[in-house]
């Protein structure tokens, strides 16, 4: 049983055949989203059987785009622990604080979810050569799943990317290009070569399936919290696929009757050195202006312009959430505090969620008895230079 029905543009709602290969919407150039037949009676059985399934994201396979189980590549991605952060909670004034630790994914970050799905589906659709611009973690994840599936991976990273990211891609057999510039420059270079050499571009939200992998974070939070969603989710936002994906998952689960209609307030946290979503959220814009001179130690947040900006902003608005920028000092201190109280070596982006929590707790936007989930999107190991003094 697999319920994928069609693709639909997230902006102009054009419908497309999900059996064909697509990048962006051919009408308006915006991201495509996968649709499913969610009105099947047997989905209640699926929900009831989940607890016996393997602890990875394929436990939700009926709601994922890969049709044939032979193409479901797996390295144990997803179903990461949701840690009840009691020592940390006490320190920062929360009775119900949780950390979703995405550092336990293959390749050490949440990027494994999206690339697992994109590569699996690409292989199912007969694609052989894949291409990606990346701040580091997505590149490693693409190389891993491409190697596992026997596909080729071409990765484009800024030339100041920390060296562990390059070494990882090398160990995983990727073809590496370092670009003098930001991730947007990497995107341009990757796109140019993709056209020339007929590679499939798996950039953030420029194909329809990475978001399907990322949405499983939403399914997992629901399952791990016994189908009662938290009051607030704080998510470090670069390209924003995870936030948009979770928001999509909550609607799917509502439609299937797996959860009540109560949904969390979604919070985007960015760095003060690159905060396009924060600015446009507070300016009440539909799209975000590209951020000039983007600069932050949290490489995953150094995304000056996100193609899914309107989807992120829509989720923040619909959920009555907010967006907040924190300084590099605050986010690094946040990661260290998580390490010292909960034993999780968080990446700087993960640290940003704690910094945001502390600001929002202080100004009363979050109450002490509200249930809050912070996303540590990856392990700190590949950013060890930040603690290497």
């Amino acid at each position: 049983m697999n319920l994928l029905t069609n693709l639909e543009c997230g902006y102009c709602n054009k419908k497309l055949d999900a059996g064909k290969i697509w990048n962006l919407c051919p009408e308006c150039g915006k991201p495509l989203l996968a649709g499913y037949d969610l009105n099947r009676a047997d989905l209640e059985t699926t929900k009831n059987n989940l607890s016996k399934r393997e602890p990875n994201l394929w436990r939700y396979h009926e709601l994922l785009p890969v049709q044939d189980s032979r193409f479901r590549l797996s390295l144990g991605e997803g179903f990461t622990p949701l840690i009840h952060a009691q020592r940390l909670g006490k320190q920062v004034g929360s009775n119900s604080l949780f950390i979703k630790d995405e550092g336990l994914n293959p390749t050490g970050s949440f990027k494994a979810r999206g690339l697992c799905m994109a590569v699996s589906r690409a292989k199912e659709l007969g694609i052989r050569d894949l291409s990606i611009p990346s701040a580091g973690n997505a590149a490693g994840a693409l190389c891993a799943y491409a190697s596992l599936g026997g596909l080729s991976a071409h990765v484009f990273m800024p030339n100041d990317v920390p060296r562990p990211f390059i070494a990882e891609c090398r160990a995983l057999g990727g073809h590496i290009t370092l670009v003098d510039g930001l991730i947007s420059d990497c995107g341009a270079k990757a796109a140019e070569e993709a056209g020339k050499f007929k590679r499939f571009d798996v950039s953030t939200l420029k194909e329809p399936y990475r978001i399907e992998g990322k949405k499983t974070m939403g399914y997992e939070i629901a399952e791990q919290m016994n189908w009662e969603l938290p009051d607030v989710i704080i998510y470090p936002t670069g390209g924003g696929t995870g936030l948009v994906g979770m928001w999509k998952a909550f609607f799917e689960m509502s439609e299937m009757g797996w959860i009540s209609s109560k949904k969390p307030r979604m919070v985007s946290v960015q760095s003060e050195g690159c905060a396009p979503i924060v600015k446009s959220f507070h300016d009440e814009k539909e799209f975000a202006e590209p951020w000039l001179d983007a600069m932050t130690i949290a490489d995953g947040l150094r995304v000056p312009s996100a193609i899914g900006d309107f989807l992120i902003l829509r989720a923040l608005q619909e959920s009555q959430g907010t967006a907040i920028a924190v300084s590099d000092e605050e986010l690094l201190a946040g990661a260290t505090t998580i390490g010292h109280t909960e034993g999780i070596f968080a990446c700087p982006e993960g640290g940003a969620t704690l910094a945001a929590f502390m600001r929002l707790r202080e100004n009363g936007w979050i109450k002490s008895d509200e249930t809050v989930v912070l996303f540590n999107t990856g392990s700190g190991h590949k950013y060890y230079h930040l603690w290497d003094k």
Copy 2:
């Protein structure tokens, strides 16, 4: 229900009260092992309910030493994926090759299992200050669980340890001492300070509970293979706790009737630059001579003298297994091959298991249709310098 009955010396069989704090056997100075009441009828129910439990090592809590669930510290350790390595198997002549990927543990290595258990039990017994000598991974794991439990961790590493290991301990709040020498010198320094400052020494096999955490690798392989053990397990051997722990687990499961009496042939792999177990196995000795001038890029294998040597050698002999040394070039090439075919960024010690497999396959000791499990004991991220050219 918890079935811990007593501690028993692995060498002289002296029995001790498990409710008290012990390091080595007070009679003969050898490691202590935990004993359980395995003849309980309700253990069959435990086995049948496992599939519904959380995917971490506490799913086997009845067979673990921590009595009170409040002391079961957890960051999502254990129940790591067992990957059916089909592309790699085809390349190296195996129809049934598996990789147990311990890199997905908290802190990125199998050390999380042992230290999770040692710290949890130490906390239950009222201990506050912990001390460890380490080649790197055990130090990070100790710091993580000590922070989570609110205990203090003092870690002693060789001063040539790769810098990511130091950064990790710093981010996790450990007290770090770098020692000019090998891990044995770190052990001496740690012991000296432990005496002076009344810290509890959680060195490999010098307290009874790290091995209990490590033995869960054996329980997991059995559960993940539907209670039919593989023909061969290849394990990179430094201190050897994991190998000894799995061997103990297999006997416990046999006694409970969870598995048949058929057990795997256990293989220790070491580096040619430090192979005390390999040498003494082939010399048919009961104990291993300390290795002089130990040198290998696989830091976890740079253990010139293991206090559990006789337990390792006994398991190899009883299982009709073997021991084999590979070169640093072979083990590094092994890790890269795993990365290029299966998408796992393996640590050099994990790479050694593939190098050993290839040798044993070539000389016919392993047949093409035998089921073999390779242990990738950690992720390559903290060893990225080996791929940083």
